[in-house]
């Protein structure tokens, strides 16, 4: 079943298909935040991120003629972005799951040596501490957390993007949040962290 297309998106797509580059610029500006979230969570190497974002939008431009509004535009773009990131990781021979599968052992503690350089920030507040902990999760878990909490996508939308059943998305999300809470509790002073935001 087709989704009722968002009027603005439908108009933008029509203008892009007609070769209007201003329309594509507006389109990029509208969706670059979403794409950057996915790339940020999937790709740890800061040097590669902007190039990947560019490749994603070029791919979107090449394929926009074939978009039939069978899902939301944001879901379609996010799916392209997610799979572009997976291709990038495969090319660099970086596994999607550190232990080969998304089982509980993939949440096992890992040492800081695998942290990306930008994770070595001074962990002064809960935000940076949490970011450091999120960085230790496998890329799909990080992506689910961001798509759900920052981009406010539903389980179904995330499932479409990542080719996962809704139940699996929900389960990954629960496990990731549970693990984050446990890690923060076990690692840091309880009072210091948990009362910082209350």
């Amino acid at each position: 079943m087709k989704n009722a297309p968002n009027t603005n998106d439908a108009l933008l797509i029509k203008r892009i298909r007609a070769g209007n580059q201003k329309a594509f610029q507006s389109f990029i500006e509208k969706y670059q935040r979403l794409v950057s979230h996915i790339v940020f969570r999937m790709v740890s190497n800061t040097a590669d991120r902007e190039d990947i974002c560019q490749d994603i939008f070029l791919k979107v431009y090449q394929n926009v003629a074939g978009f039939r509004f069978e899902c939301k535009m944001s879901t379609w773009i996010a799916k392209i972005a997610y799979h572009a990131c997976i291709n990038h990781l495969q090319k660099k021979k970086i596994p999607l799951f550190r232990n080969g599968s998304p089982e509980d052992k993939s949440f096992a503690d890992i040492s800081g040596e695998n942290k990306p350089p930008d994770a070595f920030t001074e962990e002064r507040d809960i935000a940076s501490r949490l970011q450091a902990e999120i960085d230790k999760l496998d890329p799909p878990f990080r992506t689910i957390l961001t798509l759900y909490h920052v981009d406010e996508m539903s389980y179904a939308e995330i499932g479409k993007i990542m080719d996962l059943p809704e139940g699996t998305v929900k389960s990954y999300l629960f496990r990731a949040r549970k693990r984050l809470r446990e890690r923060l509790i076990s690692k840091y002073q309880r009072e210091e962290i948990w009362h910082a935001n209350i």
Partner: protein, 169 residues
């Protein structure tokens, strides 16, 4: 009987707004249990932090840079002027060489190596030899033309490869 403490899943379901048959029970327990209230508060703090924007932002000029990349791809000529000059130079050089240099010894060597008498006299090359002799064609001229065509084809292939590489980038 007092209800057992809320599980992580119970609390996450409450915060996610997922409906549950035991919702009333859970909320009633939460009102009275200090441990579960703490547990809930911890998750609330976690949710607040998770909703914050991650730390990677694209530059302001990002959209414009993609548009200019698209424009470059569209307007780039199939062959750049530099390449045209290179090809013309090569062709001119080859033509002049063929015109000025006596090619007879080269042709003789090529004929000896590439076209030995046995092969020429086989059924395959026999008709060709007859045709050439009938037409009284100058072999050196044919070889020169072949060489020029080969060079053009090779250069053309290189240019196409470079063009393809640029696009795939």
């Amino acid at each position: 009987m007092a209800r057992q403490h809320l599980t992580d899943e119970d609390i996450q379901n409450i915060l996610d707004g997922n409906s549950s048959q035991q919702k009333g029970d859970l909320e009633h327990h939460l009102e009275t249990c200090k441990i579960c209230q703490d547990h809930l508060r911890q998750y609330q703090s976690l949710y607040v932090e998770l909703e914050k924007e991650p730390g990677f932002k694209l530059p302001r000029s990002f959209a414009k840079s993609i548009i200019s990349k698209l424009t470059t791809q569209k307007t780039a000529p199939l062959v750049s002027p530099e390449t045209v000059f290179v090809v013309l130079g090569i062709l001119l050089g080859l033509g002049t060489t063929f015109y000025l240099v006596d090619m007879k010894p080269v042709v003789e060597i090529v004929r000896r190596i590439a076209l030995p008498k046995i092969i020429i006299e086989t059924a395959v090359f026999g008709p060709m030899k007859n045709l050439l002799s009938n037409l009284n064609t100058n072999l050196s001229l044919l070889l020169s033309a072949g060489l020029v065509m080969f060079t053009v084809a090779a250069v053309d292939r290189i240019i196409l490869k470079l063009k393809h590489h640029k696009i795939s980038l």
